[in-house]
Amino acid sequence: MSTASEKEPWFSKQNLKLLTNPLNWENPITVQVLGICSALAVTVQIKPAIVMALSVTVVTAFANLIISSLRNTIPARIRIIVQLVVIAALVIVVDQLLKAYVYDVSKKLSVFVGLIITNCILMGRLEAYAMANKPWKSFLDGIGNGLGYGLILVTVAFIRELTGSGKFFGMKIIPQSFYDMGYADNGLMILPPMALITIGVIIWIHRSRNKALIEK
């Protein structure tokens, strides 16, 4: 068994699937419907959304790696506590880094960085994958799910920032002449309900294109 897996190349087809599947078929937000809370809260602008996505990706990947390495020594009864300790430690590291290097974004994300600890994607991946797979695979799985989360986050943030405040990465891209002609920014897009509706529309489009995802 061990020799067989040693021979498997690091980026074999199966391992790459771990990275690409969460972008589409097993997307944490649109298919597994995890991590919705932060997706609604941090998607008003693109910049915080990207930072949030990166933070979640890093935390998920390393939490997966660490838990997967420890998986044979963790007693099954207290595994959730062990997982939480690992996640919490990583989140504190990320939070401190954000505060040190991108303070303004960290301010905007406010409590939601801390809330990564309770993000369902992390616990879900640890329970469902890292506890039963080898470290490298778990690491890839963590990155893949983080990116899948980030993909939806950035898409929603792009739509909301463009229609809600006419901006892209904080730059005004809808020309002033539009406003002079009577165009107005859609204030509803800045409010959380529209984030929910936007994600709903993404799920709608996603499922109508992939009939296999439609539940009976």
Binding site: G182, N186, G187, L188, M189, I197, W204
Partner: protein, 388 residues
């Protein structure tokens, strides 16, 4: 008429399954049933069929809305010429209002119906007549100054997310017309609140406004505690005041209510209890009397803003209201109570009727559930001694 029928019969095979344009079957069907009485025949079992189908129901509601629309058109012109200080004839006032209001009606219908047609095509079902009423309600509850593209965006949003997402006509949780207004209200707050948007041309800074003309609606005057500036009850009733296009004249609304009640389409239970709820809550506020808004008499409260319009045309929507008779009493009463509460407690939302109806739309199924449960329990109690 004959030739039209002949022409339709001639092109009909193209739209049947197997025909050239079979994809557009629902579009053809929609036009055919719109122009002629559908000749559907009951195929299985015995059914009693009535002439009152969805199309006729909707047409009667649209007819009931006509007085409010016509009065609204005249009032738009009247208010405009009042604001610029010109005296013109009745016809000129009406014509000005017609020019201002008619595009809004057209835009609401075109944008809403296009969405309906597209969805009917994709899903392969018939186009329902449900939008005929929504498309007429939307212009009537908007300020006349709302840009046309906003009406279009709001209507499209309301039809997609208020109706099609849930499965189309008859499946919606929220009243689509109110959803359109709520969309504009939250998305473009500058265009639907304030004193300048209720009268055509007033928000345009270049136009000459008569000194001392404010354009404020009775509701905004009440919210600013300028209670003495609220027009007399008779003026409020007749409706030559600033406001959304169709809601100002209570007389026109009552004519509409009479049409709805006589034809048996509107529900008297909801209308009655909504008004009672409003009266009840404003009486309680009268007793408290903590601020000038609370001291406004119950009758004035009911005559201000869109309360009656909402009670007659919005709360009674057969799809989104409660379905059981007992439920309707509860539903209507709470609509009235909450509408007055929102008005008085939160001046940021001058028109509480919209929010209260939307809120109760969400609660209607819950009310029905408990009414049905209570009924089952009551009847079970009656049967249990015999079983023992």
């Amino acid at each position: 008429m004959k030739s039209l029928r002949k022409y339709l019969d001639k092109i009909k095979p193209n739209f049947q399954p197997g025909g050239k344009f079979q994809k557009f079957r629902s579009t053809f069907d929609a036009f055919e049933t719109f122009l002629f009485v559908p000749n559907h025949v009951t195929k299985k079992g015995s059914h009693i069929r009535d002439y009152i189908d969805l199309k006729r129901t909707m047409s009667i509601v649209v007819m009931a809305l006509m007085p409010a629309l016509l009065f609204g058109m005249w009032n738009v012109g009247y208010q405009h010429y009042l604001s610029v200080g010109q005296t013109v004839t009745f016809l000129e006032q009406f014509w000005f209002g017609f020019i201002a209001v008619f595009p809004i009606v057209v835009v609401a219908y075109v944008s809403g119906l296009s969405v309906e047609f597209i969805f009917a095509q994709i899903r392969g079902h018939e186009v329902n007549e449900g939008f005929l009423v929504s498309g007429m309600l939307i212009p009537l509850i908007m300020p006349v100054d709302t840009p046309l593209w906003m009406i279009a965006v709001a209507t499209i949003f309301a039809v997609i997310f208020g109706k099609e997402v849930f499965g189309g006509t008859g499946m919606n949780i929220f009243n689509p017309a109110l959803l359109a207004r709520a969309f504009v209200f939250f998305a473009y707050p500058a265009k639907i609140t304030g004193d300048f948007i209720w009268i055509e041309g007033l928000s345009d800074k270049s136009s000459k406004i008569v000194d001392g003309f404010s354009g404020a609606t009775p509701l905004s005057q009440a919210a600013n505690y300028a209670v003495d500036k609220i027009p007399s009850d008779l003026t409020l009733f007749l409706g030559n005041i600033p406001g959304s296009i169709g809601e100002t004249s209570k007389l026109a609304i009552l004519i509409g209510a009479a049409i709805l009640l006589l034809s048996g389409i509107g529900n008297w239970r909801i209308m009655l209890t909504t008004v009672l709820g409003g009266l009840f809550m404003s009486l309680i506020f009268n007793l408290v009397g903590a601020n000038p808004y609370m001291q406004i008499s119950p009758i004035t409260q009911l005559l201000m803003g869109g309360f009656l319009f909402g009670a007659v045309f919005m709360a009674t929507d057969p799809v989104t209201a409660a379905q059981t008779n007992t439920g309707k009493y509860i539903y209507g009463f709470l609509v009235g109570v909450i509408a007055i509460m929102v008005r008085v407690f939160n001046p940021a939302y001058p028109e509480g009727m919209m929010l209260s109806i939307l809120l109760m739309n969400a609660f209607a199924p819950l009310i029905d559930h408990y009414v049905v449960e209570a009924n089952i329990k009551r009847r079970l109690k009656r049967i249990s001694p015999i079983q023992k």
